[in-house]
């Protein structure tokens, strides 16, 4: 599915860029990090998960 791939690609951008206006604050401090920093670190894991999902889809296609 082409559309799936496009959506998966956009998720990290929406998380790390699109949500910035709503997460621009220092409190609460989570896992020792100010909220904005925590959000961007969480974005790293979102990107990891999404790229991993794309990779998984591609490997499945290859097997077919």
């Amino acid at each position: 599915m082409k559309l799936n791939r496009v959506i998966i690609t956009l998720i990290p951008f929406i998380w790390s860029v699109g949500m910035v206006p709503f997460v621009n604050k220092s409190k609460p401090i989570i896992m020792g990090l100010p909220f904005l920093a925590f959000w961007e670190v969480a974005g790293i894991f979102v990107a990891f998960a999404c790229i991993g999902a794309l990779y998984h889809l591609d490997q499945q296609d290859k097997k077919k």
């Binding site: 790390s16 910035v20 621009n24 409190k27 920093a37 990779y55």
Partner: protein
Amino acid sequence: MSNEVMSLGIIFSFVLFATVIGMLPGLKEKMSLEGWAIGGRGFGRWLSWFILAGEIYTAFAFLGASGWAYARGGPTFYILGYGGLAYMASYWILPAVSPIGKKFHLMTQPDFIQHRYSDKWLGVVVACIGVAFLVPYLQLQLTGLGLIVETCSYGLIGRNAAMMMAFVMVAAFVYLSGLKGVATTAVIKDVIMIVAVAFFGLYLPFHYFGGLGPMFEAIDAAKPGFLALPGGTKNLDVSWFMSTLMLTSLGFYMWPHIFANSFSAKDPDVLRHNAVFLPLYQICMLFPMLIGFTALMILVPALKTPDMAFMTIVQQTLPGWALGLVGGAGALACMIPAADLLLTMSMLFSRNVVGKSMNIHDDHTLMAKMAKLVVLGATGVALALAIFAPSMLVELLLTGYSGVTQFFPMIVLGLFWGKSTRTAAWVSLVVGEAIVFTLILGKMDPFAIAGMNLNAGFVALVVNLIVFVLVSLATFKGTDSQAWKA
């Protein structure tokens, strides 16, 4: 042993060890031009990983990120965000370029652009622009190294002497081993670097505040707003943050030396697989920031040069061995990316600028000789610049970043959109670069428009994209040649 001797000993042994390891591949085998420049297209997951990762942890990550945290606070967090997005972009771009590179024997980014648009002079111009942006980036590594070694040797070695010694070594192993030398030394650099930044990044906040949370609580209480946007600045606000994230993530792979990873990887799957795990590496960028934040609360009086925050706080807190560790890791963080930059610059200049314009690029023996001579010449030029015209770290990086990102439309639309035309590539490149230069040199970065403060490079990229699409639509003749595809 005195602090000075201890520190100097550690720095020397790190640098020397890496140089010797870097020379080995070149001493063991006689390399062809392809073997020297792009590792014979044979890099598997590990080498490909380290060459890429090696390009991320530069002098900027070491001094700049801590300096930014120290001086600007919240805006620094963009550095955490762009990596994952850049690798998402790379997941689409690199595996698409790789098979084309293999089939048509491409070795550099201008090779690819020339091939895609069958336009020799477009390749030459892109190569010239690439070199122009790589020179300040190389100089930045040199300046960083001089600063690091001078400080960490307690002034025993002056910065000019340090730069000269280190860069003779860099030139030597690039000359001998090419990309394989860069990759093997990058492994050493990354291990030392991560151990050093993780140790200091966690030790310092725990030592002074008993943890990260308490440290940030203290900063937030002392300087309300510093940890969000615009932090310690006036105009690095939410719109700047968002536009900078877009620019740095889309532009990351437009750096000629980073784009070249498409050619050194053994197959596209190596690139896909590494793209999955590279985001996690970005977490290491957090540590230099933590050091900068600690320095903000501890150092009295305030520093005149924020980039000194990392080294100053370590020097005040810990004995000589610790500063030696910082110095050694920092020196390598400048040397290995510099080696990679040198290699790419020499290829762009010898193969694309001189070779292609004079039609002698197929003579591989001549090209290899010339590329290696250019390595030595470029080292000299960068040294002269660093000694006689040094300047602040981050500004240089941001100008170059905006500049190379202007390749994005012609490369990425060129790859995925059949209607892309040669005329569009020319026009949009000129427009994009013109806006970058006008805004940044005219001190209009960030660019204030409609209540927003946009990253100047991002503004240029948006205009560039629109121009590219419009001109393509106007000039597309309806015959989509597929000949450039693999």
